[in-house]
Amino acid sequence: MHADLFTLAAVKGVELAIFILLFGVVTVLGFLAARWRRGGSIEHLDEWGLGGRNFGAWISWFLLGGDLYTAYTFVAVPALLFGTGAAGFFAVPYTLLVFPIVFIVAPRLWSVSHRHGYVTPADFVRGRHGSPTLALMIAITGIVATMPYIALQLVGIGAVMRTMGISGEWPLIIAFVILAAYTYQSGLRAPALIAFVKDTLIYIVVIVAVIYIPIKLGGFKGIFSAADAKFTKSEIPNDGLLLADPQMLGYSTLALGSALALFLYPHSVTGLLATRSRDTVRKNMAALPAYSVVLALLALLGLMAIKAGVTPLTGANGKPDVNTVVPLLFDKMFPDWFAGVAFAAIGIGALVPAAIMSIAAANLFTRNIYKEYLRRDASPAEEARVSRLASLVVKAGAVVVILVLDPQFSIDLQLIGGVIILQTLPTVAIGLYTRALHAWALIAGWAVGLAAGLWMLYDTPNPNTAKPHFGGAQYAISKLGFGDTKMTVYTGAIALVINLVVATVVTLVLRSRRDGFTDTTEPDDYVVEAGDPGVRDLEPTAPEESTVPAGQR
């Protein structure tokens, strides 16, 4: 153990060299992306914020894969299995159920957004429900839910850095400054181009890892019995190779709730709206599960780490940081050069979603706060300028959050983020089908659901760490007054049910008072495809007027 600590304190030269090399390649790509597939001037939010809105099936597959399967997921899910076993595997039903849901719902959002030029989910809410207040709430919810998600991407890079023996915060700051610079320059095209590198590396690393590591560890049989032995011995409740009976409801509600929430995150919407056609969205939903297979295989790495005898490094707060488990496993099992490739995959994997998330949050600010409340007559060029600056602020904010606050705080916030973004479901997802729910009722449901969700999260202790509040997103049913049971339910699901009940009741009370809320969408807005009347032609063409090259502004 002592010797272990000593060697880990030293910087790993080969790993670091390969990491820096690949990071450099990606940085160059990020800046070059400004000139890639250029349509009109980048001084327009459709260009900077949605990459010209004409990504085809392949680019979208890489972009959405890079967007939805973040580095944090790739680090945290195996860490969950390492810590608790079966309960962490909820990520598999979660990420497979996303596709049917998005396949059915998202094309409607694509169509209405392309006909009306909506850039954010709150834009749609503004047009559909006719209420700027409701749109503002959706926008703020989106920004608040996204910020900690960006901060968590830094946690992923940090785990890799620490494994390579690099301590201190300056590497994180450098990585994010570079990221901020090329996102500012190239907009959504930067993560789209980098996603090719990221995903290729991830696929190579995972395929090698799930073949090579089990062989080195003597097969899956031994891996699972080592994990079983660990869970049987530990005193933590609710861990094990299988779910305990009271855990099942919590497992499936968490999987379903997370699947419903994913599509509501602003960065998912940004990725979906950047596609060229409705057909591209649908086609991608059949192809994206390839990433879920990768995630499932990666999750098993958490159990392999148990067999390999990995001990998590101590984090900045003095507690063991389980997020270092996967990097440590790679470090232990792979030759140095390949461990470097694997670390680069995780590090670059953090940059892609961080870029898209900051663009999505910036677009929300620009479209639904700045333009709506501060400068009504802002031109598209001004919108693009504001959004670019806002993306810098968002990323700076994420860095400050990670540096100043305990990383645990970001993880808590991310937990809260999932619960609160789910509260936008009645307004956004149900709104895509019907206006039956009154705008004020949606606002009331959102507020009550949010309050209930936050209160339940506050009221959840974590028995494993003796943390009294924000101990997890599973709420004990017994606290709701349903008898003496150990069963738990996903907090977000309870809050969503409360939200829907309030929204329905208030709608019934307010029946027939629709004055002041105009729906500016038509029924066929939800089914149109690229090329139909009223859908803007966004095929890439040579710039009509002379635009200043992106590098010389």
């Binding site: 009306h116 909506y118 190779l241 299988l242």
Partner: protein, 88 residues
Amino acid sequence: MAYDASREDRFTRDPDSAGRRGTVQSHERNTNWYWLFVLPFVFTLLPFIYNTTSPELIGIPFFYWYQTAWIVVTAVITFAVYVKTRGS
């Protein structure tokens, strides 16, 4: 680009477009195929179906390989539904 900045019609009905809107039919057909999507929900959201270790597959307990297999099955279902409902 075709987009004219001076006429922001995102949140207003565009008077010129009154004639061309409201007339497009859905491009998808046979949407009854969507019912196939009930399958993954039923078979992955009821954990008591698969919360066992046996039968194992190359040493992997049932719980783990069953759910992983459903990713592939869902992908196949989604592709089939995509092909069957793709219209003009």
